[in-house]
Amino acid sequence: MKRWQRYTLGVAVGLAAGFGLVWQETGSAFDSGSVTNGIWSTSLNYGIASADPLTRAAVARRGLLALPKTETVYWAASRDSDGKPLDGSCTYELTGKALDSRWWSVTYYDRDGYLVPNDARIWSFSGASITPEEKAGWKVTISPAKPVAGHWLPGVKGQPFELTLRMYNPGPAFVKDPKAAELPVLKKEGCA
């Protein structure tokens, strides 16, 4: 190989490695957020000026216009408690209590962070969906077919998915120790 060819190859490999790393890191930075709690992970640096360039780019790609943690904490989950990717063909039970925040919701997205069509036109489950009694404990079924009873968040067959848990104006106890907060628990029941 000639000298210029070796250098050209060097530049090409360098570009591919640099840009490739950006693509890979900004795609997964939500999963490898700086705080994890059960299946959920987040970074508490969204939107603030001290956020490092990688967090900024990851947020731009996967959660542009996100609010800082005092306003909203965004938790992401793309795997179940066994570490398996979330699968729209499967049935899951998500259980929890009223969360320590002014308002909260769980939203179903595809792996790119977009809402997906379903006949029921339901994409989220929120604090407004539960009765006062359910504040002590609620349950929502995530499945392609509507459950016989109870709350439902429709799944889309044959597609992996992600959940985003939003907590608007989180309470002081939560802000002090987000890792210790009691977040919803996801249990896989079976797959179609």
């Binding site: 000298r3 070796r6 250098y7 190859l9 060097g10 530049v11 490999v13 360098g14 570009l15 490695a17 640099g18 840009f19 790393l21 950006v22 693509w23 900004t26 939107g47 603030i48 000026a49 956020a51 360039p53 990688l54 900024r56 780019a57 947020v59 731009a60 790609r61 996967r62 959660g63 542009l64 216009l65 996100a66 609010l67 800082p68 005092t70 306003e71 002014r102 308002w103 919701s105 939203t107 997205y109 790119d112 962070g113 977009y114 809402l115 997906v116 069509p117 036109r121 994409w123 989220s124 929120s126 407004a128 985003t164 939003r166 608007y168 104006n169």
Partner: protein, 172 residues
């Protein structure tokens, strides 16, 4: 082997530069794309009252189907921009301002605003602003001011629409 030292060093340097450049490109590029998309039908420095997010309507990634968003793509090239925010009593709403590198330079929710309408002026450093106005200084010309309004059910948007439209955006 020795003749690969030079190209390997070049590859490492280029990779580091591409990584830094790529991150900046993703950040500023995606924000600029969002500014253009927001301004596509309404124009710059105007509030766009978005329809609720559905699979058919997702102007940005990870939209919340529970929030009514209104967005103003601002451009301070020709002067400061004034944004008016009208909270809806008894429910979460907020105004946030994002700069060209995606940083939140301002955020205020309904409770902090004591549920009363308020105005801010977004301006570059050195730009003259009207006396007595609350000013938010930014380091870049372009960005987005975003109003979030929480809905308990999607159908609420009908009754809340007139109130939502009291939030506005205009160049001074």
């Amino acid at each position: 082997m020795k003749r690969w030292f030079g190209p390997t060093a070049v590859a490492l340097l280029v990779a580091a530069a591409a990584w830094h450049g790529g991150l900046a490109l993703a950040t500023y590029g995606l924000m600029e794309a969002a500014v253009r998309k927001t301004a596509a039908d309404t124009g710059l420095n105007k509030m766009r009252y978005n329809a609720l997010a559905t699979p058919e309507n997702q102007p940005v990634v990870r939209p919340s189907p529970d929030l009514a968003y209104a967005a103003c793509a601002y451009d301070l090239t020709d002067g400061p921009v004034v944004v008016t925010m009208a909270p809806v009593p008894g429910r979460y709403s907020s105004l946030s301002v994002f700069d060209a590198r995606t940083d939140v330079v301002f955020v205020r929710n309904d409770q902090q605003a004591k549920e009363k309408p308020f105005q801010i002026v977004i301006a570059r450093d050195g730009q003259a602003v009207p006396a007595g106005k609350e000013v938010v200084r930014v380091g870049y010309d372009r960005g987005i001011a975003l109003v979030r309004l929480l809905l308990n059910t999607p159908s609420e948007i009908k009754s809340l629409e007139p109130l939502r439209r009291q939030s506005s955006c205009r160049q001074i």
